[in-house]
Amino acid sequence: METALISPANAWLFGFIPTMIFSVLIPVIGVACFTYIIARRAAPLVRARHDPRLNHIGERLMAMLKYAIGQYRQPRYMMAGVIHITLFAGFMILSLRSITLVILGMHSGFVLPGLGGVTGQIYSVLKDIAATFVLAACVVGMVRRGIFRPERYDVPKRYGKDHTSEAVFVLGLITTLVTCDMIFEGAQVAAQLQKGLHPEFLLPGMGSWLAASLLSGSSLVTLQRLHLAAFYLHDMVFFFFLCFLPMGKHFHVITSIPNVFFMKLRKGAIKPVEWGVDETKLDELKSFGVKKFEDFTWKHMLDFYSCADCGRCSDQCPANAVKRPLSPRFISIKCRDYAFKNYPIRGEMTPKDEPLIGAILSEDEIWSCTTCGACEAECPIFLEYIDKIVDLRRGMVDEGMVPQSLQKPLKAIEKRGNPWGKMEKKRSEWTKSLPETCNVKLFENGDEAETLYFVDSISSYDDRMQNIARATACILSAAGEDFGILGKDEKDSGNEVRRFGEEMLYQDIKAHNTEAILDTNVKKIVTADPHAFNTLKNEYTGLPPVEHISQTIVRNIRAGKIRLKPAEDDGKIYTYHDPCYLGRHNGVYEDPRQALDAIAGLHRVDMLKSRDRSFCCGGGGLMLFYEPEEEQRMGVLRVKMALKAGANVIVTACPFCLVNMEDAIKVSGLEGKMEAIDLSELIQRHLETA
């Protein structure tokens, strides 16, 4: 068959060197280099800690399909998301074309199996469109990154080097790849037309069609040269690109699909100190948590490699927003750069037996996290932060590096079961001022009941928050629940004790509470504290089902056991603030809203940042005691968001949120203009008494 141009597989350079040599050498060298680089990059992962991630394969595949292939989280940032989806979809489609091209250099007229005939022609059009869109996305991307420079990508000096040049360079490589293919194909078609041969179909308006049109007047010699030059430039750039990916943030092109597959499936539970070591055997461990780099698990190292440096986590991070010395993005980037430095591509690997705290991370940085989970809810490829932060804290606790502000409450929990060091016998004192209609049974007195109301420390002891406990008790009474409390037998649930790295203390109080709860023989547990809710539900074992009061309320409204009075016409506009441990960590977004909406005539608006984008109030549990370096309080920012939404009442469903919101209202000078109230208090006010 006569061809318009000599294909790379049959061409000669200077008349005596078959270009086939390059067609073979480039891929062979490229693949060899790539294999070597990946092997070097895998070195720290091999030394890392165990982390089982091969369970629930079906669930993992589905998640991978949705989040990696489906790019589900990308449009949360619309502009960047659309550009990324275009590039990603283009990559997926063009990967077949790239493989075809590489083999075309060795085998003229090669077609991938299944891509002959009509399918091949459809694919050909599809990849034309893909290449053109990728080209457009690259141009838009380069202008956006190079000229408009969105703030989200800025790298403050203390965190390292700006990556804009790397980003633009890679966009340039992609541009070169697709352009080469367009010229390669365009020259071919232009030559076919000149020779009067039947040309391949090119979709008008697409890149290859444009190249063919532009080249239609060129001589056959020029076309032949362009055809071959474009081919080999593509070949070289393609393999260079492949080997360049693992050098920086573009490693995610290779690692993010597996990273999503290996994602953490059980939200709300912190990883064990050491996978595979039973809680009863923790005493046998020589060291706790992450101290040096190799103490991370292999998956957490893969996270560092996979970080695309997109900055979404830090953009959503409340600690970063109030200028605490924490930016989740740079935890990843600093650790990645540290791994790159100690495990270089060339030369000797020099793993260092040095603590990360002090070398690349700081104590305040790691204590600044409220474990709100905003970063993890945002990351398009499911990097984990909370488990790493907790592991680092475990390491610090083990070394005695705990700020004085946290030592006191931790010791008080150890001695008294609550962070204020209040007397155990006063844990049930809040019940003394309950209305007569509301009766709370006390298991410590030998009472029996169906349901346990787990109050937890703050609602038991804090003067203001005791009102939440009373409101909760009144709601349970009104619903006709047969319930009781543990009183002095209840200790702090320990949600934050665990998250602040004091695992052994957590294990002690968990064991104590579990025994106390099981002794009551209750069928169900209710709590109004999302932190208690989280740890009882996700981390304690062998307990009866746990319910948050918002769920209890909705259940009882539906069953007709609770009836609510309509809202007074007092001009109040309510907004619901999603507590992190109810929303993001446990997916309870609708129940509290439904409970509010069950009050007829209540005017409710949502803040811009709500549900899984809710903005942390400042943190609960031990975080109330920590004295962070910050420019302002998270709560103050949150109150401003409520104001912006047009609300004058913030409803929360967490005692810690209420503490922080009420403080923030005072600090912002909004007393009288804005108020905060707990969901249970609001519902109690609207209870229709029979």
Partner: protein, 263 residues
Amino acid sequence: MEILVCVKRVPDTAENEIVVNGKGTDIERGDLVYSVNEWDNYAVEEAIQIRDRVGGSVTVVTVGDGDSEEILRREMAMGADKGILLSDDAFNGSDGRGIASILKSEIEKGKYDLILTGAQADDGAAQVGGMLAAMLDMPYASLVNKIETGSGNTIGIGREIEGGNQEMSEIDLPCVLSIQTGINEPRYVGIRGIRKVASVEIPVHGAGDLGIAAGSVGAAGAKVKRVDYFVPPAGEGAEILEGSSDEIAEKLIELLKSKGGIK
């Protein structure tokens, strides 16, 4: 450097409600939780830091009953190398001098370059350190908030003086120092650390081991005896301002102005 730190188990003031008992003989002890005296904890941290800098060992010692072992373990979990419990029924009811003489007997059995005590105890009278130094015939410095170790036979010690100024002195070794809080940031002792030292043997020395005549210490030897506990009647002159935060602030400013507190 061989360092000995004298520590004491006290009711934790942060975690207890201190109430005088009905008879006025003591405070109510039924619901108390105890911990190591805060000043002593700073002294142990300082001793550990010195040992880590210049070498040697840290020993913690306390006079008390079997329950006091708990605080020795906590300080050992912190990093002290050794604990010694001085316990004997004959020690019960000792006054400050009695405690100092019990400690003296133990100290003379060893060879220590530096002896640290807390500046005071939550339930004490800040007297043991000074008496101990006198009994041992060693130089003494109190309220120390800085220690600089050198190579010679002296160390530099600091004390905060009025106006936040710092005073530095040189003191010959061996010596006794009473340590002020704020000299360092004591490290955290977790449950894990305490468990690790749970089975370390702690020697118990009684009056016989120390060669102390039973009548010279304890209630029998005490020259200072506690006679009463009571809650003083509320005095006059206290005023609680009422109203909104703004009103309270305004009233406070007025009051301060009228009394010449601000101009």
